[in-house]
Symmetry: C2
Subunit: 622 residues, 2 copies
Amino acid sequence: MKQYQILDGIQNPKDLKALSYSELSLLSDEVRDFLITHVSETGGHLASNLGTVELTLALHRVFDCPKDSIVWDVGHQSYTHKMVTGRKERFSTLRKANGLSGFPRPSESVYDAFLAGHSSTSISAAYAISCANRLSHNDAYAVAVIGDGAFTGGMAYEAMNNAGRSRNQLIIVLNHNDMSITKNVGAFARYLSVIRAKPGYLKLKDHVEWLLDHFPFFGKRIKKALRSSKSMLKYLLYHATFFEEMGFAYFGPVDGHNQKALEQVLLRAKELRAPAVIQIETIKGKGYPFAEKDPLNYHGVSPFDVETGNGAVSSSLTFSDVFGSCLLDLGRTDSKICAITAAMSAGTGLNLFAASYEDRFFDVGIAEEHAVTFACGLASKGYLPVFAVYSTFLQRAYDQVLHDAACSGLHILLAVDRAGIVGGDGETHQGIYDVSFLTGIPNVTIFSPSTEEELRLCLKEGLYRCTGVVAVRYPKGRVFRLAGGKTQTNYDLQNGEEDCLVISYGRLFHSVYSAVCGLNRKPSLLKLVQIWPLKEELIALISRYPKVIVFEEAVQSGSISEHLLYALNQAGYRGDYQSVTLPDTFMEQGDVSYLLQKYHLDVDSIQKQLEDLYEKETGCSC
Amino acid sequence: MKQYQILDGIQNPKDLKALSYSELSLLSDEVRDFLITHVSETGGHLASNLGTVELTLALHRVFDCPKDSIVWDVGHQSYTHKMVTGRKERFSTLRKANGLSGFPRPSESVYDAFLAGHSSTSISAAYAISCANRLSHNDAYAVAVIGDGAFTGGMAYEAMNNAGRSRNQLIIVLNHNDMSITKNVGAFARYLSVIRAKPGYLKLKDHVEWLLDHFPFFGKRIKKALRSSKSMLKYLLYHATFFEEMGFAYFGPVDGHNQKALEQVLLRAKELRAPAVIQIETIKGKGYPFAEKDPLNYHGVSPFDVETGNGAVSSSLTFSDVFGSCLLDLGRTDSKICAITAAMSAGTGLNLFAASYEDRFFDVGIAEEHAVTFACGLASKGYLPVFAVYSTFLQRAYDQVLHDAACSGLHILLAVDRAGIVGGDGETHQGIYDVSFLTGIPNVTIFSPSTEEELRLCLKEGLYRCTGVVAVRYPKGRVFRLAGGKTQTNYDLQNGEEDCLVISYGRLFHSVYSAVCGLNRKPSLLKLVQIWPLKEELIALISRYPKVIVFEEAVQSGSISEHLLYALNQAGYRGDYQSVTLPDTFMEQGDVSYLLQKYHLDVDSIQKQLEDLYEKETGCSC
């Protein structure tokens, strides 16, 4: 283990307060070295953490955590915070099963004020904490740290609108790096860039004040103008920015890598004892040239070589890649197809489409709700909108899918990426709820292809042979190719023994197929591809088997397993029905294979359960 | 039927274009008379419609619908629009089964560009329509009409942020009446009021421009200041409002009851051929003194007497009343209890709490997402937040309930009002999905009390004896008192014949109880009060009955009926299980009693189904 002169002496934030600025400068270097060393081994979020080293140190020197609360938005920039709050020794376990979370977790440390993972929640939480402090006559501060990307989410605005009225001790640090995960978009981002580029804009306030002091005897018209608008002029002077209009004091822009300047502005805001916004300017990836040059690719990384910056070369084709290339193909022949992303064009594979059909590509910012209703507006005029979104982030748009899309009967396609267990990002990012919440919305058709070719077919089927809301869901990571059976968009039955039917879909089908291949006896095997709604024909087919067992990578409540049992029962089925789903809990971080095993959905567990099923039968017939 | 000189001649918007301003003035009077006459008979939204008469006429004179699209936000202000687009004759059917919807419905008319009901969606939809127009080389306009209340919703901001970059023909009419359903709150509302109160603020731009033109030879310091900040000064001049900072041209404020001024400003914005915001000032309830004086109580009304303004006096105590008084009581003894509303303090019964415990009452604006995360922030500091919200609007906060509340294990109470069928508001407002989406979220406890007393007990139980997220759901309208059985917070079993168990919960339990009372044979009757999670003890109890039938006022997919069957099956139950739920569709408008009958959940239908169940049995045993 590397030795660090300053860093190794930091056990908790109090230790930071005694340091000189030259020691802090050395500490920042050490922190960056630590981050690069560890993240290159474990993988994780890199660029965002390299950008917030000085900020984190400044926050912990100016404020007293855990009495004061720091709420990290999204939370992927909280590694330095974790290091200086007693968790440095655990970094080799980052994002691993039973290891350190990559996001703030109150269950992990009292220094983590609020759980994070999804974007744009920090101001709501920090404002509430400031209200609680006020009610409790607690002289503590609440600080939200939010990037300009997260600021495109509507929740940030809802919270600003609400908090601006208060006189609470609330400080919002707006970390402007002109970057969410991809290059930030929208009017607000442009506005921040204007402020950054021209600090003179803010100095104008001072100039106008000076003008009024020194030239009181203007001509008649000007005097009249100034007299009649005096209060308005005042208003203008003190409401020069969006933030001031929302009722916040505004400080900035400040160089986010200048330790002393950061601490000074935090102290000024602290002295105010009222809501304040501090705009800081940082460089994502700061201190690691590869990451500075390409912050997008160093946002979330797999293990890589520190010297060369190269990750383990992966030539695996992913489901996202296939989706991206398929949509590119479809977009070429059909000018009605539009692609929408909520700041995730690279992750979802939409980069290709964006480059080729710029006018039909819409990056709406981190704004999933708007994205869905925007898609509906396009559909209402005859376009074919495809919104590519991670399963976990689609949760944000539940109401829009229900109210704006499904209730209207508008035809939109949701490309639901990262469906199922996602791994290291853990409990806040699992894609295991979409089956439940999408099947609870009327008029939604859901496909869960299990191979590359099925994904392509399902996209076409969904776009051209379905109506209403269509969701095509697929997992993170490399594609699977057809192992057995046929490529379908509906279902595929592989006949085996007629007494038992094994059912699965999506990624898990491959494990089920392998398990069945390993059995001495061969049950019949049904792969669902269109998993919802369950058609009568399918129910009739399944009803013929006295034993039915379903394996499903989704939470139980609202699962296909539940809906299918209900439909079978309604159809008079009285056979033996079993199913194995994920439990109704929040699922921890860990490798996908580890978690599947833990929840009895790996090949061995499935095989064992199938063997037990046959054994039980033999037992009965004895 | 009343005769109207001008109005009767208006068959479609084209007929408006030939009218003189004096004829339009008469028409406005006639429209208001028509609205007051009809809404006093049918009930419906009144104040919002009286406020937008001139605006609607102006929009239809300046634009050409349906080529141009008008997107009404929320849509409860669209009555005049419906009248002048050929639907005047159907107003006696307003909000009734098979009648005219109280909201824009594209299925009802080509003039309704987009379905509405929930707040803050209009800018997303209108911007998308403007994008579609641009892609299609269609020279049409898209106009969103949105109130300042709806503007507190984050979606409006997300859409503004996205749309401000474009050069589309998009016009946003911001209808400022300082009122959502209750008095509007937040920094943004205050900002609009400043603009309204001081039009001189906007004139300052002109003054400063004049100043620069006429005094080019200021002293050294000023010259330097102006030189260095010249582009910023320009920026300041042309970005005087929030809207201009977001990339929109800004017009206003304009008197929204001045027909000519409205049309002029709409024409100016139209000529711009780029995104524009027009702020208009209107009076809710305009032209009907009772409504002008008390727009809150004339927002949504039951039939009333036009002369006196009095509605049919209803002394019925509602579930919302009981909730409100119970929370007031609890708040008196427990200073940790906080109440949160998303602009619905009157509807949810929180007015009493708000008046008594102002510092612990939070109206966050129409911002359900922020509301839930805000509640979580309070809970993280040991407070007991209660968010009172209509079932249909809670849909907006699905992700926040899952990610910020349940995943954190934070203890918050959701008081879910208007659960179940709601009646006249129709398909966009039904509270029939919450059971499905809340049971799909881990760590949520759901109570569905069926009486006044049970509601009180459940609130206490939920606050003090539960952990995590607790939802207490109850229907719109008058309370029920205990008809039979016992008041419980868990479940109540009324023993009858041991071969059959009838299960229900909530409002529907009373119908089931009545039906059972009307039977010759008496099955056992189980009332669920805590409907989720289903405890083992309950499953064991239910398993004892060879026949089980559930009646449930919720959509099937994700219903308690489904979860219960699954749990029974897992426990080895092989009896006869039936259930009657609402179908997985969007439910149309109509009286609650009419809809319950249509979906076989009225007393007679339930009784018949129970009789059939016994008959089937007799049939079998023959």
